[in-house]
């Protein structure tokens, strides 16, 4: 096939070429896109059930829904990129026997107003929807509640420690009462760590010299793992600990067994670090 014939072949196979829709390149890409989109949407809708941990807080449910919605909305976009790339690799690969002959360019797209408007409109719509959704979910986590339990979280290579201000209790395991709002005051005494109790829908960096605040309300009983989510050195993988959501009676009993000097009814933000405080809603 001569150079001119290859150009004619590509132009005839474009989206607006003269052949029937499903015979043209655009039609084939559409079919591939459709298949990829369906697969992507199914993965987005069902994979989180198997990949995310059991959720023990209402905020965790919001985060779970965000993962599903964002994945489903992103699926058609990603599918389009993969479909075009996949089709290009197969149909428009370089067929010349002479490796020194470069493949011809396709028809230029510059100046195609409808395509530009469509592309910008869809992108803008998706970004605005995702921004609005994200801010709404994030704002819910910043709401303060009365009777909030304060928990100071300190990250250090390679251990998390938790203190409950006003009780004198400091432990390596995290225990939380059911249906009581919790405010985590998170910091680090060495490098940056990532406080990640995934079951609570919380993931916040623990930064040295700063205290970062985030809130959640456990609404289901159960145990879970707190893991460091920032690569923090030699034993980063070992920086995890057991945690649990228990009844308020069990929580009070747990505090007593860990040497509580007073009840757990601490509601003031008694943040142990003398560093500046960074609230997430600033």
């Amino acid at each position: 096939m001569s150079f001119e014939e290859q150009v004619d072949d590509i132009e005839a196979n474009t989206l607006l070429g003269g052949q029937p829709f499903f015979s043209r390149a655009g039609g084939k890409i559409f079919i591939i896109w459709l298949v990829f989109t369906v697969v992507g949407v199914l993965i987005g809708a069902y994979a989180p059930h198997h990949l995310l941990p059991g959720l023990l807080s209402s905020e965790g449910g919001d985060v779970w829904a965000t993962v599903v919605v964002f994945t489903v909305l992103a699926a058609p976009v990603a599918a389009f990129v993969y479909a075009v790339g996949f089709y290009s690799l197969i149909a428009w690969r370089h067929r010349s026997d002479d490796p020194d002959v470069p493949p011809p360019d396709g028809a230029p797209q510059r100046g195609n107003g409808p395509v530009t408007v469509l592309w910008l409109s869809i992108s803008t719509f998706l970004v605005v929807v995702l921004l609005f959704w994200g801010i709404t979910v994030w704002s819910a986590q910043q709401t303060t509640h009365p009777n909030t339990l304060q928990v100071n979280v300190t990250g250090q290579q390679w251990v998390w420690t938790y203190s409950y201000p006003g009780t004198g209790v400091e432990t390596r395991t995290l225990e939380l009462p059911l249906n009581r709002p919790v405010q985590f005051n998170i910091t680090s005494v060495d490098v940056t760590h990532g406080f990640w109790p995934a079951a609570l829908g919380v993931q916040v960096d623990a930064n040295p010299g700063e205290v970062t605040v985030i809130r959640t309300t456990p609404n289901k009983l159960g145990s879970f793992i707190v893991q460091c989510s920032q690569l923090c050195g030699l034993y980063h993988a070992f920086m995890n600990n057991q945690a649990a959501v228990v009844t308020s009676q069990q929580f009070d009993s747990w505090l007593q067994t860990h040497g509580a000097t007073s009840s757990a009814a601490n509601t003031d933000a008694d943040i142990s670090s003398g560093a500046s405080t960074t609230a997430m809603n600033k």
Binding site: Q157, V159, T161, V189, D190, V191, I225, L234, F238, N241
Partner: protein, 234 residues
């Protein structure tokens, strides 16, 4: 044919790099070699349960490049770095009473996090601290501003998440002289016992900021084998 060869070469390259890193984890050329198997002491009764009883003994030195009885503390070790020695990997049986004796030759200072001045995870929640002059104290904590090192141990994820051990080692004011540790006679002795967890790999490290750079957790604290190692529970 070319495509198949490309995939084969890529697979071998990736597998080779992965194998290198796995091997490197346990056999770093600058890390102490060998695994010390805990010495059997028979059995012991703890809380009404009869358990196998084993013992471990190791030291902390101020000079990683030094030698003890002709053996290198840390082969090729940095002379300005401290080190545990002479090995950094230990083997103990699962669910056994493990009695550990640590001879602490190094100096120290203040912890970044005073929580590590407390004894956690030992039988009775205490350790026995013996000064260089022979005075013995049984305590559940030490002064957080006079810590030499800590022996802190936790399990690999999924092995025994409830296991956690931390014992502070007091600072030693009488440092040995010279680059060799052969004359390191003045030392604190800390003895404690713990019940080992389920079978698997456990990591231990020091939580005293005895390194350099960020919060003194760089340098020796970021290098494998000086202030860190593994305990193999079998």
């Amino acid at each position: 044919m070319g495509v198949i060869l490309t995939f084969v070469v890529a697979f071998v390259a990736i597998a080779g790099v992965a194998a290198y890193f796995v091997t490197e984890t346990y056999t770093s050329p600058n890390a102490p070699s060998g695994i010390e198997v805990a010495k059997s002491l028979g059995t012991a009764v703890v809380n009404g349960q009869t358990l196998p009883h084993v013992a471990l003994q190791f030291q902390t030195y101020p000079d990683a490049s030094g030698t003890v009885n002709g053996k290198a503390i840390h082969p090729g070790g940095n002379p300005s770095w401290p080190a545990y020695g002479l090995v950094n990997q230990f083997q103990v049986p699962a669910h056994a009473l493990v009695t550990v004796t640590v001879q602490q030759y190094d100096s120290g200072g203040s912890l970044n996090n005073p929580w590590f001045a407390n004894v956690h995870g030992t039988v009775g929640g205490t350790a026995v601290f013996t000064t260089p002059s022979g005075k013995t104290t049984v305590a559940n904590h030490w002064d957080p501003d006079n810590i030499g090192h800590t022996f802190t141990m936790r399990s690999a994820p999924g092995v025994d998440s409830n296991f956690f051990l931390n014992v502070p080692l007091p600072t030693n004011e009488n440092l040995p002289t010279g680059s060799s540790n052969d004359d390191a006679g003045q030392h604190y002795t800390v003895t404690f016992s713990f019940i080992s967890g389920s079978k698997g790999v456990y990591a231990w490290n020091c939580e005293f900021p005895c390194g350099s750079m960020v919060a003194s957790f760089g340098g020796v604290m970021g290098a494998y084998g000086y202030m860190s190692g593994f305990v193999h529970v079998v």
